[in-house]
């Protein structure tokens, strides 16, 4: 059997792609329309956007459809599309303080200014399948509109009340409950991992950017490992908010701030336990980490905030006990990108005939070596025995 390099196969590759397209529709079901995906598979669309690092809900819906629901593939498609467009400008700084919240909770304080708003959430429900969804038809759309009108009525529309709230972290900072993040060299622009390679130790802005586009499951696993025992994270949710963020850019003629629209986003701050000071002369305070993602992506932002806190403490040397792999910034940031990771793992499916032929030669040499060893050993043993005589 011989192993050799190959080329070609274009026709087979094209037919394989056709077969994918056929199998998607062969069941006879009505093709999905993009607004359906955007509106009814919100979390899949959110995930494609934040992992693809491109806010474009309708295109994300297309990516989800094309990827047949594979979240990593959908994010890959979006990120690839992003590379085809010029980046013309950066937005003016956008703060979560300006979010028009639909959901806003704190696990740290029961009473927070403005109150706790559960918003659209299933956290408190028993996980039971809803058989009624299986037979849903267009009448359900009208019912949803009526139900929404009832909720509006119950909530009570008040003039100028759009869901703006003060940040809980600001209150904690005011009360000197949380540590000041160590200052980094002031730069006009934050680090951009799409333009410069990550080197370690990296600026915190690079860490936040890397985690904002990271694979949700990877971040969750790293954060979980640190919380569960392979680390020192003891998080409490300071605040989680989800809603609409207005985005502004500078007008090219006048420089004035102009709004270009609103994005859906989620952000969270998470506090760790109160040992987070290096200098014992300072009073103990909480360390706080930050998480942000496009869309409604709560698991992602909480995992990100936990890891941000752990990595900040690790750099400051204020972790106690086991630091664990999640405290290794290089390990976390170089292995949390789903597209890079999936690309590397999946590329092993592609032909590796030349590489494998080299492996086979190594195997052959190793076998020869093993086959010869008894003879040489025998010679050595014989020689040793002779010398003893």
């Amino acid at each position: 059997m011989g192993y050799v390099a190959v080329r070609g196969g274009s026709e087979a590759v094209a037919r394989a792609e056709e077969l994918v397209a056929c199998l998607r529709l062969l069941g006879g079901s009505t093709p999905l329309q993009l607004p359906q995906i955007r509106d009814q598979l919100r979390h899949a669309v959110s995930r494609a956007m934040h992992e693809g690092a491109l806010y474009a809900p309708l295109l994300a819906a297309l990516a989800v459809k094309q990827a047949e629901g594979d979240s990593i593939e959908a994010a890959f498609l979006l990120r690839a599309y992003r590379t085809t467009l010029p980046r013309v400008i950066a937005s003016l700084p956008v703060s979560g303080r300006d979010m028009l919240c639909l959901r806003r909770i704190s696990a740290s304080f029961k009473d927070i200014p403005g109150g706790q708003i559960l918003g659209p959430a299933t956290d408190y429900l028993i996980r039971l399948l809803q058989p009624t969804l299986a037979d849903e038809d267009v009448a359900a759309v009208a019912q949803a509109a009526e139900q929404y009108a009832r909720l509006v009525e119950m909530g009570g529309r008040r003039s100028g009340e759009w869901g703006c709230f003060p940040k809980v972290a600001d209150y904690m900072r005011q009360e000197k409950m949380i540590v000041d993040i160590p200052a980094e060299p002031v730069s006009s622009d934050p680090f951009d991992i799409t333009r410069e390679p990550l080197t370690f130790p990296c600026p915190r802005s690079a860490r936040l950017q890397a985690m904002a586009q990271a694979d949700t499951s990877s971040l969750m696993s790293f954060a979980y490992s640190s919380v569960r025992g392979y680390g020192d994270a003891h998080p409490t949710l300071v605040e989680l908010r989800y809603g609409y963020l207005p985005v502004q850019v500078a007008h090219p003629l006048t420089g004035e701030a102009i709004t270009i629209g609103e994005i859906e986003a989620t952000e969270a701050e998470v506090a760790s336990k109160a040992h987070s000071v290096v200098n014992s002369n300072e009073p103990p305070r909480f360390n706080v980490g930050y998480g942000f993602a496009f869309g409604q992506s709560e698991l992602k932002v909480m995992s990100m905030a936990i890891l941000d806190s752990v990595l900040t403490q690790a750099r400051a040397g204020s972790l106690s006990g086991e630091s664990g792999p999640a405290a290794d910034e290089e390990f976390v940031l170089l292995h949390c990108d789903g597209i890079e990771a999936s690309g590397f793992v999946a590329h092993y499916k592609l032909p590796h005939y030349v590489t494998f032929e080299a492996d086979l030669r190594v195997l052959d040499r190793a076998r020869d070596h093993v086959a010869q060893r008894p003879t040489r050993l025998g010679q050595l043993v014989d020689q040793a025995l002779e010398e003893q005589v």
Partner: protein, 139 residues
């Protein structure tokens, strides 16, 4: 209080385009010169983190951008998503509202109306969320 750009970028595109069409009706067909676009481009989102107030790049936003001149007045339009009509309407309205002498002052009350409608939509949106306001009891 919503800014004019907020109102025009967040209101239903067809209503904004209708306003721009009214402006265009007052000019000769060759009054508009496109400088660039409408084209899809990226805007890098600069977020302020909630812990240290530090800036970081949180990803890119797909936007449509148009730069033009309306009767010699520069106009700029940018809106989230792929919507060349909306971006161009924004650029036309931007130019129209900057023309010296404010010949399109009549647009302002129309925009204020859109702002009122948008404001009410925001109030309804939050009212639905406010229905889920919770006060947990502690033991």
């Amino acid at each position: 209080m919503l800014s004019v750009s907020h109102i025009l970028s967040c209101s239903p595109p067809h209503l904004v385009c209708a306003l721009a069409d009214e402006v265009l009706a007052r000019y000769a067909p060759d009054a508009v010169t496109f400088i660039s676009g409408p084209r899809c481009v990226l805007v890098q989102l600069r977020m302020v983190d909630g812990v240290a107030g530090m800036l970081f790049n949180a990803g890119d936003l797909l936007v449509t951008e148009t730069r033009l001149e309306l009767a010699g007045q520069f106009g700029f339009g940018m809106v989230l998503g792929r919507n060349p009509d909306h971006a161009t309407a924004l650029a036309i309205l931007d130019a129209a509202l900057r023309i010296p002498g404010d010949p399109h002052a009549d647009l302002r009350p129309r925009i204020a109306e859109l702002g009122q409608t948008l404001s009410e939509a925001y109030e309804r949106r939050f009212a639905a969320a406010a229905a889920t306001r919770v006060e947990f009891e502690t033991f």
